[in-house]
Amino acid sequence: MHIDIDEISKEFGATAALHPVSLSVPSGALVALLGPSGSGKTTLLRILGGLEFPNAGRVLFDGQDATNLTVQQRRAGFVFQSYALFRHMSVFDNIAYGLNARPRASRPPKAEIARRVANLLALIQLPDIGARYPSQLSGGQRQRVALARALAIEPRMLLLDEPFGALDAKVRKELRQGLRDIHDTTGLTTLFVTHDQDEAMELADLVVVMSMGRIEQIGKPADIRARPATPFVREFIAA
């Protein structure tokens, strides 16, 4: 699905989190929203997911105005930095959650849900952990379960907030490849937020550099490296 962000602005009280920003994300792209904390990247991601609503501007999904869609209607697979797994549910129940939450009429039968969960567990290469609880998983396993849970609802896009933020360096490297693979397998339009320019440059097709609620530059990693558009971008990617 292709996403258009049209002159979106957002204020929290008196402070502007986003000055009007516009961005067009082609269908199937893997996009990094890169910037320091307070740059507005997470706010932008949450607006796309329907968790915040902009003060002005529009969000378009495949050309259709999606600004007023509720979070439930958006069907965005959202992965939080903390993963926000339901700790009182087994891994299986976590992944099945979105399917079980559907109204009875559109809810798949139990066997179908089980089959889909098994497929997702295979996709994240953790086929045997369905019966475990989140507290029994490592950080990397939790991240992949959160990803599988987001994929279970057959989302129209994948939104990830600092997906590697809570992991140590070694696991981080492995999971970058994991995300790339899942993106390539599913073909979902994917946006992830990061403050780590290595991560953005290595993983993304398209990097959006943000600072103080504005988009500083949009481009392929190589172009941004070669031709930083503003002094901020030059300094930030050199850091």
Binding site: S9, L51, N55, A56, N68
Partner: protein, 287 residues
């Protein structure tokens, strides 16, 4: 900027405004019936014959002796329980020993024992028919149906209050500060006064406050051990019962109003402590 602003939405992590206001309404209605109405009723009944009559009834010998007795009991039992709380918290927080869990369980016993059963226990221990009680009576020191029994009953029901408040606070603070003070040559007593006490003073005050309110208001345990001797072992709550049963409503509610004011002051101070010194209290984490 605000042109075509979408309809104002509530965040996804809260309920619809209608649901919210219905729940708030429900809560306030139920609390008005259950909490606020009895509170108002106490003062309305106390002032039924006017403020003069209420004050006059507090001056009656029976009421005065009850107030004096209740104050004396609290003045003895609360400091003793505070001393116990400090000692127990010091013991649990500063040393490692076997049986710590058992000790904590034993301290909590009064929470799970009915006040009447507590009174019964004291009667069985110190009553004139028991071995120990018989001997004490022979020595001229009766405990049951006398002042010491009331103190023991009040102590029993409030026994864990201060300890329960101090133990988590002191455990969390650890031992480093005390150890540092010791290496600097401070004496044990000085370490306690200048290092430990400032760290626990708000938690201590909190525990003492709750313990005092409960001790002054204790009814069931005291009813059993006091013998309800007018002017001698009748505390304020016991006197309230006696006056109420004799249909001396104004006098009963006047005494009740005094205890209610005490409860309100306690709640006020407690709230103040929770707002001002939340970080120094264990209550916020415990309940």
């Amino acid at each position: 900027m605000s042109d075509a602003a979408p309809a104002l939405r509530h965040p996804v992590t809260t309920e619809r405004p209608l649901t919210r206001w219905l729940l708030i309404g429900l809560v306030i209605t139920v609390l008005s019936i259950l909490l606020f109405a009895p509170l108002i009723a106490v003062f309305v009944e106390a002032l039924r014959d006017g403020l003069g009559a209420a004050v006059a009834s507090l001056g009656a010998p029976e009421a005065r002796s009850a107030i004096r007795l209740t104050l004396t009991v609290a003045a003895i039992s609360v400091p003793l329980n505070a001393a116990f709380g400090i000692a127990a918290a010091w013991l649990v927080a500063k040393y490692d020993f076997r049986g710590k869990t058992l000790l904590l369980t034993l301290i909590d016993i009064p929470f799970s024992v009915s006040p009447v059963v507590a009174g019964l226990c004291l009667v069985l221990t110190f009553g004139a028919h028991s071995a120990l009680g018989g001997w004490l009576v022979a020595q001229g020191h009766p405990i049951v149906f006398a002042f010491p029994g009331i103190v023991l009953a009040s102590m029993f029901v409030t026994f864990p209050f201060v300890a329960r408040e101090l133990i988590p606070v002191m455990v969390e603070q650890g031992r480093a500060e005390e150890e540092a003070a010791l290496t600097l040559g401070a004496s044990g007593w000085r370490v306690f006064r200048s290092v430990t006490l400032p760290n626990i003073r708000w938690a201590l005050l909190y525990g003492v406050l709750l313990s005092n309110a409960r001790a002054m208001g204790e009814f069931g345990a005291v009813a059993v051990v006091s013998g309800k001797i007018r002017g001698v072992t009748a505390t304020m709550p016991i006197t309230i019962e006696m006056l109420y049963n004799e249909y001396l409503s104004t006098a009963a509610f006047a005494l009740a109003a005094v205890l209610t004011l005490l409860a309100l002051v306690t709640l006020g101070l407690k709230t103040l402590l929770e707002i001002r010194h939340a970080d120094a209290l264990a209550a916020a984490r415990r309940h």
